[in-house]
């Protein structure tokens, strides 16, 4: 790796590790101190390495600097608390408290525990995602703002409030006890799901950032399934879902960054390795008796890795959507289900049901109606595509709709 790329790369990979270990060591109340120490460490690295060149082992160098800074902080803390608490007789600082453990096992454990802290139910889901991005993925406020399509100030305030709340609630950085893990896992999985979706469906033009979000979500999810306590069927199902979706990453945009519809994708660009991984995790998810929405969505995504249309494929997808909607309604699931209904039961039945969906503020609703009417009534199809065009916001969506209208009239 080139020298000037190394530091940003190390920031992505090491920031979260050091910060997780420090937070766990200090306790959540010193989360900002931990952030300062790690930021400082990287600042010193950029100055020193810029002047003197790279050290032999850059990662170890970062760990040593962070450790020393952490020790200074702890000494300061100890002196402070001893001055305040006169009752403490011994003036010698306990050496075991000073020992910052940056072994690979402790790094993994700390990150996993940190994941449960940043996904604590006492803060909003949006804050959980933001905090996970900041602490566990090393994303800057600007990048998070870009991902959420908002400005830096909003994100900055959101993160500060979330950290304050975690301090107030005295949230412990630890794995929940066995009896609580399943309940707490839901929030963690929701965050990872949102993190991934943010990357996969975001309208942000920054494709590198979007891909990074997806990779980060998968990396955190892998940590869950690698630990026996958090290796639940739902966690495996979510990971399978992410694998299937990201297998199409290269195929879904052209060189200009415009999106390519599923039907028009070159399946040679689909990543076979990720599809196989998805199948592997989906198999691992098939235990227990809880059918989560991730199971259903992963199974739908699995069927989409078969490009060729068949009655079997669409019948399965329809039934999976039927079940998914019973667990959790969402407009996008309702629209996709109606498309599957057309493929499995015929266009006329689907049109009758589509007219009842009443999602008139959604441009995808009119796009669906346009698609369904395409073979039955071209005039109506055009009307619906025009309604969709009037509602669509992103240039990519508008372009897609314009070419659909052109195809109709040609």
């Amino acid at each position: 790796m080139e020298e000037r790329q190394l530091l940003p790369h190390l920031f992505r990979t090491e920031y979260r590790k050091i910060i997780s270990v420090l937070c766990r060591h200090f306790g959540i109340e010193h989360i900002e101190t931990a952030e300062d120490i790690v930021s400082d460490t990287f600042l010193i690295a950029s100055e020193t390495w810029g002047l003197k060149g790279l050290p032999a082992n850059p990662t170890a160098w970062l760990y040593i600097v962070a450790k020393n800074k952490a020790k200074d902080f702890l000494k300061h803390q100890a002196v402070f608390s001893q001055k305040v608490a006169i009752a403490i007789k011994t003036s010698k600082v306990d050496e075991t408290i000073m020992d910052i453990d940056l072994s690979s096992q402790n790094i993994i454990d700390s990150q996993l525990q940190m994941m449960f802290a940043t996904c604590h139910p006492c803060i909003s889901t949006e804050a959980q995602v933001g905090l996970s991005l900041s602490i566990l993925c090393g994303f800057g406020v600007e990048e998070i703002a870009d991902a959420f399509l908002t400005n830096k100030e909003v994100i900055y305030k959101r993160l500060a409030r979330a950290k304050e709340k975690l301090r107030e609630e005295k949230v412990k950085i630890e794995l929940p006890v066995a009896s609580e893990i399943l309940g707490r896992m839901d929030a963690v999985l929701t965050t990872l799901y949102l993190l991934f979706s943010e990357g996969y469906y975001s309208t942000s033009q920054n494709t590198t950032l979007r891909k990074d979000l997806c990779i980060e979500a998968m990396r955190l999810n892998i940590m869950l399934v690698d630990n026996e306590k958090t290796n639940t069927p739902s966690a495996n199902a979510l990971l399978a879902l992410m694998c299937f979706h990201s297998s199409r990453f290269e195929a879904r945009t052209n060189e200009k960054g415009d999106s390519i519809l599923y039907e028009e994708q070159d399946e040679k660009l689909w990543n076979k390795e990720l599809i196989e991984k998805g199948e592997y995790y989906l198999n691992r998810a098939s235990t227990g008796n809880k059918l989560s929405k991730y199971h259903l969505e992963a199974a739908i995504a699995y069927w989409h890795t078969h490009k060729i249309d068949s009655q079997l494929k669409w019948e399965n997808i329809l039934q999976l959507y039927n079940k998914l909607l019973q667990i959790e309604y969402s407009p996008i699931a309702a629209l996709n289900r109606t498309y599957a209904l057309a493929k499995a039961n015929g266009v006329n039945e689907a049109i009758t049901e589509a007219e009842k969906l009443n999602l008139t503020g959604n441009h995808f609703y009119y796009t669906l109606l346009g698609e369904l009417y395409k073979t039955v009534d071209k005039l109506k199809a055009k009307e619906h595509f025009l309604s969709a065009l009037a509602l669509a916001k992103s240039p990519g969506d508008k372009q897609t709709l314009k070419s659909k209208i052109e195809q109709l009239t040609s």
């Binding site: 039927n322 909607l325 309604y329 289900r337 009842k356």
Partner: protein, 118 residues
């Protein structure tokens, strides 16, 4: 939005031969598609439950009789809860119920809400 109960009734049958998995599968599809239609409109509260054909009827004086219920021509086979703006709209939702294709009926009833919002 109010909630409504669908009660499914059909002639009590307890001496039919058991169905093959394929037959069961083909019976499930219309039900799943119908429930899916309601859920896609965000009007499903609970898919509810299906009931087996055996049961007991308890009467005053500890009189217990076995089902099927000789007094009733039709036994309750299951229930589903939906949400709709009116009884008419709820009735509209029930029209595609597969039980209607096998000579059964759907009874649509308004559920009295526990919490009344003023």
């Amino acid at each position: 939005m109010q909630e409504f109960l669908f009660v499914f009734r059909r002639a009590a049958t307890n001496n039919e031969p058991p169905l093959s998995p394929e037959q069961l599968q083909s019976m499930m599809k219309p039900w799943q598609d119908w429930i899916g239609n309601i859920a896609a409109q965000n009007k499903l509260v609970s898919a509810g439950n299906r009931l087996t054909s055996e049961g007991r009827v308890v009467k005053p004086g500890n009189v217990i009789t076995n089902g099927p219920y000789v007094e009733l021509k039709e036994a309750i086979g299951g229930y589903t809860i939906v949400r709709a703006d009116s009884l008419d709209e709820a009735t509209e939702l029930s029209l595609g119920c597969p039980i209607l294709n096998v000579g059964g009926t759907v009874e649509v009833r308004t559920i009295i809400p526990m919490e009344i919002t003023v």
